[in-house]
């Protein structure tokens, strides 16, 4: 989950690279590490077997610097792709803010792609996440293989959600940064929709106006830029966008009006939860109660004063009585 830490002025997001074994997840991270350079990419940590296969996960922090006063970081993880490491994969997936599925374009690996994708869907479901609704992209890797499957076929078999797809040759660094950037933007967009500052006084008004403002993305998306590695024609099955997806072509976060009804986070409150109590409060029902209470409180005060006087008198009489006796 995105962590927003106002004390440290940090926004931290978790990205998970998922996919079958040997599809190029770790290679993606290695190339990002090389390309992003020092100062942005932190150290790349791998928990791997002696044969250099990922055992638990690879991890690399990516610090993009100050954004609107907040230090913004993406934490990149890969999962072990081999089938029998499912429990580990599931652990790594916990708390993911976005997922890149790295598919292998080799025709012989298609069954592995399908199995891994199915596994991802199941694991996401266990965390109550839906691939249609979370920031999710697919990377078709190894596009330089002579027998690489056409993108249209990959889309038909793997991208039934119509999520953005990117062609890549990870070992050469092609398409790697585009994939990461595409997903990062989706995460940021979503975060901004949920947490964008709205002054309390104008919340009710903006709730009414926001949807129209938000619903104004460039409607028919401009034609996507061709990928550096793009060789295949882009015709896609129903729904999926062509390769690679220009961020603007993504359908807008349409259901903006519904967002205001997001319940407050269980453990940590969120700014989005503010409007509902404010707007749902009915002045007619809440006001009379305090007034009645105020009357009752006044009566209680007089009773207390009377009791103090009575007790004071009794104490004085008692004292005088014993004084005479002594």
């Amino acid at each position: 989950m995105v962590q927003i830490n106002f004390a440290r002025r940090e926004v931290n997001c978790k990205i998970v690279y998922y996919g079958p074994g040997l599809s190029g997840k770790t290679t993606n991270l290695e190339l990002i590490h090389q390309k992003a350079g020092q100062g942005i990419a932190g150290s790349l940590t791998s928990i791997a077997t002696e044969q250099d296969r990922t055992l638990f996960f690879d991890f690399m922090p990516l610090d993009i610097g100050q954004v609107a006063g907040m230090k913004t970081k993406f934490f990149l993880y890969t999962v072990p792709g081999q089938v029998y490491y499912n429990s580990t994969r599931k652990l790594v997936l916990q708390g993911a803010d976005g997922v890149v599925f790295v598919a292998d374009s080799d025709p012989n690996r298609m069954p592995d792609n399908i199995e891994s994708l199915k596994n991802l869907e199941e694991n996401l479901k266990d965390y109550n996440l839906d691939p249609k609704k979370i920031p999710f992209v697919i990377q078709y890797n190894k596009r330089d293989l002579p027998a690489a499957l056409p993108v249209a076929e990959l889309n038909t078999k793997l991208n039934r959600w119509g999520v953005p797809t990117y062609e890549a040759v990870a070992v050469k660094g092609e398409g790697v940064m585009q994939t990461l950037k595409g997903l990062s933007k989706m995460i940021i967009e979503r975060l901004n929709d949920d947490y964008g500052k709205q002054p309390a006084a104008t919340q009710a008004a903006s709730a009414a106006t926001a949807p129209s403002a938000k619903a104004a993305p460039p409607a028919p998306a401009p034609a996507p830029k061709p990928a550096p590695a793009a060789k295949a024609p882009a015709p896609s099955p129903p729904g999926p966008r062509s390769v690679p997806m220009a961020p603007a072509a993504r359908p807008a976060p349409a259901p903006a009006p519904g967002r205001t009804s997001t319940p407050a986070a269980r453990q940590h409150s969120t700014p989005t939860s503010k409007p509902s109590p404010a707007t749902s409060k009915s002045p007619g029902t809440s006001k009379p109660a305090p007034a009645a209470k105020g009357g009752g409180g006044g009566g209680g005060k007089w009773v207390a004063i009377a009791l103090v006087i009575l007790l004071g008198g009794a104490a004085a009489a008692y004292f005088l009585y014993f004084k005479d006796k002594l």
Binding site: Q3, N12, G42, Q94, P135, K181, P247
Partner: protein, 170 residues
């Protein structure tokens, strides 16, 4: 891709930490370090993000340590389940100079304490138990109070997108 409101699983569990809460947590951690004579204390959420730290932590790669702390805790939890336990609430790793103890605080944070031979495991355990309970109470208070004084700027999205273009190339 429609990102509607229905995916509450992700949205409702997002973590927000406000400055006033972190200051309280830091005070508790500083007091703990003094009592237990430990080197440093890190509070990490279960997703591997650092919440806050206290003590001599400047030389460590905090992001990676936090990710590994959360990863090893998650792996141990799986191990516990296989053994019929719900969770192991404490983990301890002993080194030649430095040691680290991890203990669960509340539902979703882990306290990592790094200490050397200036103190003992017993002292650390004793005070860690106390601090875990204090932090647990603090988290309950935080959860019940709705602090909405701070929010990210509405320009954040646009600024972040331009930054991503700068960093990754447009």
């Amino acid at each position: 891709m429609a990102m509607g409101k229905s995916d509450e699983g992700m949205r409702s569990s997002r973590l927000v930490f406000y400055k006033e809460d972190i200051e309280k947590i830091e005070r508790v951690l500083a007091q703990f370090l003094k009592s237990a004579n430990a080197k440093c204390a890190l509070l990490v959420d279960k997703d591997g993000h650092l919440v806050t730290k206290s003590g001599e932590a400047s030389t460590y790669d905090m992001d990676t340590i936090s990710a590994l702390v959360a990863g090893s805790f998650a792996a141990t939890k799986q191990m516990a389940k296989l053994l019929g336990e719900e969770e192991f609430s404490i983990m301890f790793h002993q080194g030649k100079k430095d040691n680290i103890q991890l203990s669960l605080v509340g539902d979703r944070t882990i306290l990592a304490i790094i200490f050397d031979d200036k103190t003992t495991l017993g002292m650390v355990r004793l005070y860690a138990g106390q601090v875990a309970s204090k932090l647990g109470t603090l988290f309950d208070e935080i959860a019940q109070r709705k602090s909405e004084a701070e929010s990210i700027s509405k320009d954040f999205g646009q600024a972040a997108k331009s930054k991503l273009d700068d960093v990754f190339g447009s």
